[in-house]
């Protein structure tokens, strides 16, 4: 980010328009405050992370040994499905929106989000949507069991009754995402402090601007595809039924037109976070700021023309396979630019390794591993071997867990002192980091090997030769899962006690949010700060 000199704003709460937090439950139900709403998003996301994580541990416990020990196959399928849906829509996305709520107004010099009441609405839809989704576990026939990608006809002709609840749940969580995204775009485009030109914005703001655009573009397509499912199931249409002239593959096309931009929705804000943290702890400006912005924009644009690389084996014309293969491999170029810039930022910097930096470094290395396995999957002829194996599971968990999730943890550790006003407990942070780092790799690295050897994904039982690697992965999963209790303990302790944090918190931190006192006042900027 370009250097930002700031006239210290008049940070005060006495303005007649401004109200302090209301008392009791009403504060949280009626709030229009971006910090309150950001906190609610983050807490909600943490709850979902624990629920989704518990499901993952059920999966890993069953897979610890070959054979069926703990759960019925149908319940196993419900677990894989719900784990995916909850982690994607309930944990990762709301966490990023929560971070956006907290940080974007502070980083662009705004008092709050552009549309504060709609902000409240976007958040409070989520608990209802997930209540509906989770309640399906207790319905006759059980919860959705067709995988988080809910391919037709598994999700139409052969679906349990609860699929209709799933469809309407997706509808309202989509509405929540769209409103959240509109709010973020309006805040960034309309609420920047005078002098904060687009190319002076912190990269977290840039990546969220582009992510919000992706959300508005593809969440309606998700709404469209679940609506087609609803019609096929209940009203006699034949969108995904070839007997009426439709095509089950049509489902996959529409779903992945949403789904591929969706995976970038879950990683672009992470790129932004890492681009904030590395310069701080390298005590250098970010290398290649402008190229970072263009790289994110190109990744976003390319994400609209690569969707069918998820469907190489489904029976596409050759020209389609070739097009989607090369378009996908093209994405490696801007992604490579980003990784290069992060490394170049650290080159000859005065590095220190506080907890946020450790997570950021792990992100760079492990996300790159996930990126490379993605490149392998992009090669259409080779994908016929990898498709629907644990290699795919290893790939997307590498980009989502040490990718997206690690970046969320890095961001939490990085900005927590600004939120709570207390310095971090570094010892606890480092214990959490090393347990997570080791746990993640023990869990997901062996999956590459069993995948390449042919173990299919989404099965409760497997052939004997996969046993050793699977038990290893299960041990890793429990290490990773339980080490998150350290994280929760650390965060709660930080909210309650801790050394008083300074305004700048980290020695090398740059940007508007660090000009504010810690904890940041309830209303951030009552008058716009001047950015030079």
């Amino acid at each position: 980010m370009a250097t930002v000199d700031v006239d210290l704003p008049h940070v005060k709460d006495e303005d007649p328009h401004h109200h302090g937090p209301a008392k009791g439950l009403g504060r949280w139900l009626y709030t229009t405050n971006h910090k309150d709403i950001g906190s609610m998003y983050l807490i909600f996301s943490l709850c979902m992370f624990m629920i989704g994580g518990t499901m993952a541990l059920i999966i890993r416990a069953e897979l610890f040994q070959p054979g069926l020990q703990l759960v019925e196959p149908n319940f196993f399928n419900q677990m894989t499905t719900m784990h995916g849906l909850i982690m994607v829509f309930g944990a990762v996305m709301p966490a990023f929106v929560g971070l956006a709520n907290w940080m974007i107004p502070m980083q662009v010099g705004a008092p709050d989000m552009a549309l504060p009441r709609m902000n409240n609405w976007s958040f409070w839809i989520l608990p209802f949507a997930f209540l509906i989704l989770l309640s399906s576990l207790f319905m006759p026939g059980g919860a959705p069991n067709f995988g988080w990608t809910f391919y037709a006809p598994l999700s139409t002709t052969y679906a349990p009754e609860s699929v209709t609840f799933f469809i309407f749940g997706v509808h309202i969580m989509g509405a929540s995402s769209i409103m959240g995204a509109i709010n973020i775009i309006a805040t960034i485009l309309n609420m920047r402090a005078p002098g904060m030109t687009l190319l002076k914005m912190p990269l977290f703001v840039w990546t969220w601007l582009i992510t919000a655009f992706l959300l508005i573009a593809v969440m309606p397509v998700l709404a469209g595809v679940v609506t087609m499912m609803l019609m096929d199931i209940h009203f006699g249409t034949s969108f995904f039924n070839a007997a009426g002239g439709g095509d089950p593959v049509l489902f996959q096309h529409v779903f992945w037109f949403f789904g591929h931009p969706e995976v970038y929705i879950m990683i672009l804000p992470a790129f932004g976070i890492i681009s904030e943290i590395i310069p701080t702890f390298a005590r250098k400006r970010l290398f290649g700021y402008a190229s970072m912005v263009y790289a994110v924009a190109s990744i976003a644009l390319l994400s609209f023309v690569v969707w069918a690389h998820h469907m190489f084996t489904v029976g596409m014309p050759l020209v389609g396979e070739v097009f989607f293969m090369f378009a996908t491999m093209l994405i490696a170029v801007p992604t490579g630019v980003k990784v290069f810039n992060w490394v170049a930022t650290m080159f000859r910097g005065s590095l220190t390794f506080e907890t946020p930096m450790l997570f950021a470094l792990a992100f760079v290395v492990l996300f790159t591993i996930g990126g490379f396995s993605g490149l392998m999957l992009a090669i259409a002829p080779a994908d016929f071997q990898y498709h629907d194996t644990y290699f795919v599971v290893a790939h997307f968990h590498y980009v989502l867990v040490p990718g997206a999730i690690f970046s969320i943890m890095a961001a939490t550790y990085y900005w927590l002192p600004k939120w709570t006003g207390h310095q971090l407990n570094e010892t606890m942070g480092k214990i959490h980091f090393w347990l997570s780092f080791v746990g993640v790799n023990i869990t997901f690295f062996p999956m590459h090997f069993v995948g390449l050897a042919g173990m299919p994904r989404r099965i409760p039982d497997y052939a004997l030769q996969f046993a050793d690697f699977n038990s290893m992965a299960s041990v890793g999963a429990f290490i990773f899962g339980f080490s998150q209790l350290v994280f929760i303990y650390n965060v709660i302790q930080n909210v309650r006690v801790g050394e008083k944090a300074t305004a700048q918190v980290w020695e090398g931190a740059q940007g508007l949010e660090w000009t504010l006192p810690s904890p940041a006042p309830y209303h951030t900027f009552s008058t716009p700060p001047e950015v030079k």
């Binding site: 609840f165 509109i182 309606p220």
Partner: protein
């Protein structure tokens, strides 16, 4: 702008109530439809109904607060810009919703239907229903027992053509209304708005006539294969948007009678007009790609 203070709206009970409404609507709709298909009774319709009640309560209350705060002069220029950007992005999201259904239409026409008919790169799928040949509109479905095709499709040059003329005219009349508003011609404003509503209602009536004809005379139904599916979903969602737009224009007319809107400040009116133009553009797409081609 430096030195001016920001305006932050105060707390409100409407968003949380709106979330309750959406929760009730989603759960109620799911329960109603599930029990309907399974042919059993449930309390779904009651939940759905209560969802609608809460929703209407929220819509009335929230807009009332909004109008009051605007009248008190609380809305800054900056907030006005946020509203405009918000509305434009909302319309963009609607465009993408329709894009999903247009995409489905193009995909089945260009790829999957010819493939089942034995043409093109994946023509091998014809072995599923040997003897099936692809045509568009698809009147003969591969499996006529499960999806009895239609006898004929709607003739674009009768009612749809009239409807096209109606909607395009209504886009013009609402623009006239907007100009009248800016020139302080209140009577012309009300007259043009009323004319827009009349055109919209006649459009909806013709749409209903067309649906009736499709179901009773042409055998064109949701169940008549992919042509019927895409036809009814596209025109149906469009018709739903016309209904919503008409209601919005009606509310604008009522507010005009109330003396609302000044030549300078009338964002609500403009938002409705934008929405109406969007609905109009979608129809032109429908007329070309669903009815004519």
């Amino acid at each position: 702008m430096s030195g001016s203070t920001y305006y932050v709206p105060e707390q409100s009970k409407w968003p949380i109530l709106a979330s309750v409404a959406l929760g009730l609507l989603a759960y109620g709709a799911a329960m109603t439809i599930t029990s309907m298909t399974a042919d059993r009774d449930s309390i779904g319709p009651w939940i759905l109904g209560s969802g609608f009640l809460v929703l209407f309560y929220v819509i009335f209350g929230w807009f009332k607060d909004q109008i009051r705060e605007e009248a008190e002069g609380l809305h800054s220029e900056q907030l006005d810009r946020s509203y405009r950007q918000g509305m434009l992005w909302f319309i963009f999201s609607e465009v993408m919703f329709f894009a999903a259904f247009f995409g489905a239409l193009f995909y089945v026409r260009t790829f999957s239907v010819p493939w089942i008919g034995g043409e093109g790169a994946k023509g091998v799928t014809n072995m599923l229903w040997e003897g099936f040949s692809a045509t568009w509109p698809l009147l003969q479905t591969p499996d006529m027992k499960q999806f009895p095709g239609a006898d004929a499709v709607i003739d674009p040059w009768h009612l749809p053509l009239v409807n096209t003329a109606l909607l395009i005219t209504s886009s013009v009349t609402i623009t006239f209304a907007h100009h009248a508003l800016k020139e302080q011609k209140r009577q012309a404003l009300e007259a043009w708005l009323a004319a827009t509503i009349v055109l919209a209602v006649v459009f909806l009536y013709f749409q209903a006539v067309e649906y009736h004809e499709a179901y009773t005379e042409l055998g064109l139904t949701l169940n008549s294969g992919i042509y019927g599916a895409t036809f009814f979903m596209l025109t149906g969602f469009h018709g739903f948007h016309v209904m919503l737009g008409t209601t919005m224009i009606f509310v604008m007319l009522m507010r005009c009678f109330d003396g609302a809107f000044s030549p300078e400040k009338h964002f609500a009116f403009e938002a409705v007009a934008w929405y109406w133009h969007f609905v109009d553009v979608v129809w032109v797409g429908l007329f070309i790609f669903v009815y004519i081609l």
